[in-house]
Amino acid sequence: MLSTDTDILATAQAWRRDGRDVALATVIETWGSAPRPVGSHLVIDGEGNFLGSVSGGCVEGAVITEAVEVIEAGTPRVLEFGVADETAWRAGLSCGGRIRVFVERID
């Protein structure tokens, strides 16, 4: 049932083992109509390569940008996306929902 998301965690492990810089983004909260359920993962490397999804494509670009910064800084971040934040993040959810995403570096 959770196979897709744990395949992503296996990829995160493999990328790290290969010496790549890796960040993991996880959907930690959703309100209203959200495209991906709580617990969905996106794994990102230092060059912006990624696997998985936190929104089905709507806000991945912004998450990847933030993830590259998290990889450099090492401090986790909580991102929030939704209609109301469209201007701030230059990314929004066309479905009208709102999501919070936790982004952490794999050390």
């Binding site: 049932m1 959770l2 909580v78 936790f102 952490e104």
Partner: protein
């Protein structure tokens, strides 16, 4: 996240054991709680609840937000007997996200024509389940549907030993009474034998193979969602 925690989480997954990654938000402080360790954890109650539901989620712990990444092995349904009811089951399991394996040593029954696209093992259950072809565990359901003790009994024994979360066997009360006698003779205690659902399926008054298949799947879902769920050893 520490790389060793990620490796441990993936190792639990590979071993088909449940685990929960506990992350403090926003600090990112983390720990991995394996299913067997939940009882001794400060968040035992809420961890057990989330594990039972199989759902990740944000919770409050001592006034602070904590995210629980719940990892549960995918549920597998093992059916003994490539029979008419099994064909109806095969048509229904996809929508429930159950991985289905059908085992039947009778090669006239276990044919790809009768079970297109289904994982089919034309072996005796003690071979199929005993030699690493398919290892039963707590996240497996087993339904014995052949009516033939030579085929059903070894599978039921294996399912009881592996503590499958669901064990069901087709047959009348009289047939089951005889089965209970054989399993008792084989050394299974009454409480283990009582875990077998027989006659199989929720009492829907099912008549057709598809209706019986539905009653079996309904009973499996009821067992799967009943708290507490199978906890790892």
């Amino acid at each position: 996240m520490r790389a060793d925690l990620l490796n441990d989480l993936n190792a639990e997954r590979a071993a088909r054991r449940a685990a929960i990654l506990v992350t403090e938000i926003p600090s990112g402080e983390q720990r991995l709680v394996r299913a067997a360790e939940i009882a001794g954890d400060p968040l035992a109650g809420v961890l057990a609840k989330h594990l039972a539901a199989g759902k990740s989620g944000l919770v409050e712990a001592e006034g602070r937000p904590v995210f629980l990444t719940v990892q549960v092995p995918p549920v597998r349904l093992v059916v003994i007997g490539a029979v008419h009811i099994s064909q109806a089951l095969a048509a229904m399991v996809g929508t429930l996200d159950l991985a289905l394996t059908v085992i039947d040593p009778r090669t006239a029954f276990a044919t790809p024509e009768r079970f297109p696209g289904i994982d089919l093992v034309a072996e005796w259950p003690d071979v199929a389940l005993g030699q690493g072809v398919l290892a039963l565990d707590r996240y497996c359901a087993l339904a014995a549907l052949t009516h033939d003790p030579k085929i059903d009994d070894p599978a039921l024994s294996a399912a009881l030993r592996a503590e499958c979360f669901y064990v069901g066997a087709l047959g009348s009360r009289k047939t089951h009474a005889a089965r209970v006698g054989r399993l008792t003779e084989a050394g299974f205690p009454p409480e283990a034998i009582a875990r077998i659902h027989a006659p199989i399926g929720l009492p829907l008054g099912a008549v057709s193979p598809a209706e019986i298949a539905l009653s079996i799947l309904a009973q499996i879902v009821a067992e799967l969602r009943r708290a507490p769920k199978p906890e790892a050893s």
